[in-house]
Amino acid sequence: MTHAPFVADTMASATLQDLGHLAPMAIVGLWGLLLMATDAFAAVGFRHFQRRIALFGLALAFVAGLTIYGNADYDGGVEVFRGFLVVDPFSAILDLVLVGLCAGTVLVAGDYARTHRFEYGEQESLLCIATFGAMMVGHAHDLLALFLGIETMSISVYVLVGARWNAKPSAEAALKYFLMGAFASAILLMGIALLYGATGATAFEGIRGGVAEAFTRWLRINDLARALDQGHTASPAASDLVIQGVAKAALLIPGVLLVLGALLFKVSAVPMHMWTPDAYEGAPTPVTAFMASVVKVAGVAALLRLFVATFSTHRLVTAPYGWTTAVALVAFLTMTVGNLAAVRQSNVKRLLAYSSIAHVGYLLLGVVAAANFYGEAFASDATLGGDGLSWSRDAGDTAVASVLLYIVVYAVASLGAFVTVAWLSGNKHEALEAYQWSGLARRHPGMALGMTVCLLSLMGLPPMAGFFGKLFLFRAVFENSNPWLQFLVVWALLNAVVGAYYYLRLVVAMYFHTPPKTAPVVLPGKGAPAVVAVTAGLSVALGVLMQPTLDRADLAARAFNYPPGPSKARRVDGLRAAWEARDPTPPVAAEEPSPGT
């Protein structure tokens, strides 16, 4: 973007205006600080007010998010803080989802902490700040914004994981997570530094331009060599340009791959997943729910924003230089190891942790597919002078929409499942072994039903939302003409069969086994049942009433790899127009036999 000349007196109003665009995120951040302050004044015994204050703030943020969500003014994306962040339909969806997931956690976290005797007032504050970081990742339009968001989120989560001071595994998990996370952050920073060196920019648009330029120059080296072979002499200036291009590309590719490695750590892809089961198990269960939902959503959002939208130029995507090969391999490993390791788990928390790893494997396939499509669109634009309205770009948009849909559906069901686990820990001991879940359906039919719906959604059984998530995701990947990706879809579906096996084991335990003599004690309060009811309800409703969700995802993903601006807005408006024009009656078959005989 062009930088407007700096004018002091308009700065304040511009900042205010930008904050207005970022209202949901700003409110959540502000509430994080506010809660810190109120905690200082809250007397012991009044800590449950913290929860109410937090929920009020999150509700405010949600309402603010609703004004942006679906607002056509944001269709083309609005850059705020001089292109540091962007507000567009994609971030609008993520804002709502993240605020909702955070509210779900807040509803349970207090009860859990009180029951387990480690209540502390900063909990709600930290949850809000972590969500603020996650939202910033969703809005990121600059590498530094991305880094800041990830760090803000991660550091809060390190504390949340270790907050259970009276239990050793919690501290251990926090320390491990912190050490590993710090290491990953270092890798991320190293990658950012290399990218800056290669492209001279940290803003996504600048990087995109720099990538294309570096490759164009690099590829000229063949022309140069041919010219030299034929006895021509190259001017020193021309050679210098080409060699600079090579040097830049030589920095660029490791930069991309290092950033990729760090982000794959954040979403816990194999083999960077080792911390996940331990951290998930050791953390207080509501925090685990938070990590499995909010943190995962943020990680996937980062992959989409940076890799799918920015690093999707043809040369960066396709072999031999492309990163998608690596991600496809990682996806293969992730779903396989995640699912197979989950089969052996008798500990419910670890089982769900491994299953969350497996889901990341499926998501990565979608990321690869989307980037491949965009790479193709980029290539055809470059060589054919296309206007960018190629089928490949549409397919890329659809793939992004599928990934978005999947991560939202997964996060909702996952939150529900982990919250049920948290709820079953009323006597300071968590009922984590599968046998303790025996006959839960007899004692608590409502909660068992909620848990079952969430598990069936994770399993991908129609008509739950998870089925449609898988259907659209795998369909988008299958549309790739690359036979290896199609094979990976086959493999992913086989993995889903394995998933059915271990999710079903829990369902079998809840419904078909006789309850143990000592009933597990459950958390007091209505928070957890409310969360499970809502998540289970959403898992059904999003499936049965798929259309609104899908429309929103399509809108968010429309022209995803376009820079913000009028041309993007035009394409999104085109989609809205198509919706209005679409015929709700089914297509009439060409050869429908006429009624009557």
């Binding site: 396709t318 031999p320 069969v497």
Partner: protein, 744 residues
Amino acid sequence: MNAVPTQDLLWIILAPLCGAIFNLVFGRLAMRKLPDRTAREVVHLVAISAVAIACFLSFSVWWDVMVEGGVRRLVQTVYPWIFSGETMIGFDLLLDPLSAVMILVVTGVGLLIHIFSVGYMAHDPDYHRYFAYLNLFMASMLILVLGKSLLVTFVGWEGVGLCSYLLIGFWFSDEAKASAGRKAFVMNRIGDFGFILGLFALYTVVHSLDVDAIAAVAARGAQSPLVTTALWGVPVATVATLLLFLGCTGKSAQIPLYTWLPDAMAGPTPVSALIHAATMVTAGVYLIVRLNFVFALAPLTMAIVAVVGGVTALFAATIGITQFDIKKVLAYSTVSQLGYMFLAAGMGAWVAAIFHLMTHAFFKACLFLGSGSVIEACHHNQDIRTMGGLRKKMPITAGTFFISCLAIAGIFPFAGFFSKDEILVGAYTYASEWSPLINYLGWGLGTVAAACTAFYMFRLYYLTFEGSFRGDEHTWTHHVAEYPIMWVPLVILAFLATVAGFLGWPHALGEVTGLHLPHVLERWLEPVTATSARFAGPYYVGLRDGGFAHDGHVTVGAEMGFMGVSLGVAVVFWLWARRLYGDGFSKEAEAWKARLGKLYEASLHKYWVDELYDAVVVRPFKFLAKLCYRFFDALVVDGVGVGGTAGLVGWLGDVVRVFHNGNVRRYLLALLVGVGLVLATVYGNPTVSSLEPSAVHRVQSRPDLGGLRTTLGAEPYRIEIGFGSWKKVIDLGPAAPGAAGGER
């Protein structure tokens, strides 16, 4: 003309769904608060009336709209479900002659089985849950059958799988039964994996999952993009149908995924009758006939379907001969009869497949309910070695069972005779152009299996109902009896098993006897089956000429010959079974057992297929899971010993301990390995040094409905498919000299 409100189709599904919801929500309450007898009455009255409404609506819409009104096709949009891009997946219901047959059979047989269940489950404490699941099953099955889009069908497909699993594991206190349910579910999921991949494969070409849209694409026959477009080097039609057929083998218990069905007999017997004999397991046959126009474009798939069907028919029949569990015999018999249906479908004899599906639903439901009656009378004993002579106390059950045996064995004039004969003649007639061998094989397998069928069914009948009682005295005097609520459905089903065959009166019999009855079912299904005949001309000679039995491929004499052979075989083996088992186990039967030796053992142990699967699939899988677990989990947990060192308190202590057990270092190592892996997959590529000019660009074209690949004007182009070090470049035209494109 359409005198019936259009909600009818939807209400056919909603009625049982409402019943299920009622019993799930209030059933428990009723069972707890009301007196036992009243509660049970409330529960089963709600459940039965829900199915009765569905049944009534089915019959009324069939009669008023289809028969009286003459409308052969009714499409009802419940709501436009999903728009995605140019695709629309509507929650549409389709009533055409095929789904009409199915809903009539499903609701009719379903109603009778619901009524029977009142007697069979009379003392079960989870009465409400049983009926709720049964109603839920009915709703799912009706969604499956009525769905216009394959996605809607898939929703029903999964729904019936879930209900089947819930009902197999119904008596879950028994671990073996719960695990039988799980086995069924997971095996079905393997089939579903094929189903959904098949949907993807169809989608790549058709860009819709609507049956009409698929038909429109398939209508171009050999020029259809389904045939001209290749996926993995094979025409899409072949890939898609093979994958869909994998789904069918799971749902309809065919080789190689049949082993769950015999285990599924752990469920209550009415469930076996409804789900595992009459309705759900026939969903695969229904699917193939529904998509007959796609299957007709894939001769390879058709041959595989036919061979798998034929082999399954014989294989399962030979197992049925030696089993002692009354329900196991019937289960293998079901697998075998489903094999017949697939044999017919694979030969393109769609009408015969549906005909046998229908008659089988009647006589197999009757047999299962009869066996349920026997099991109830024998105090939940299922071993035929301890039965015998039950006819004296249960004459109606014995009579209906005997009629059904006649029907399944194919004795004239019972229903099975007509449908089985049509399949066998069809197997012989429908010459696929490329291998007549399949026809002889199909006919041969079918005929031998028919002999086995007659033998094991009458063996079952004689061992159960004739001779003298071999159980204990107490059971005989106090338990063996039959109840009206249980025998009324039996009589109705036996009646249907007797007369249903006349819906498919063969042409040849008409010629011979002078009784020219119309082949009602064939005429009825003509709008559905005619499509494949029109589309698939080049592949199926038999289909090109239109329907079955008036195509002149077999003469009247030949057809009578086929009938004579199958009837003769059935009668001979009936009489032989009677001689061996007419009065308990005869000495001659024992002698045969000894004579067959190893063969007998193999059949008795079901050819050790379960053991084989255990060794080849289950154990390696468990080993892999264990490997993953050991590597990524146990290693770590054991290393850390979480919670193992009690007494060590304090945060600092933990810090030290964590640092010193090498655990974090191991994790960091994994992280580095991961980053290294990412770098290695890209840099380990040998082609990275060869800096080719990027004249190569990937062109992905999308086959549109017309099957034309979009070309890039007159420019020659190349397609590059790359993955890691593997790269494939396809030149589609002369390389343009000096065409250096490249990145922007």
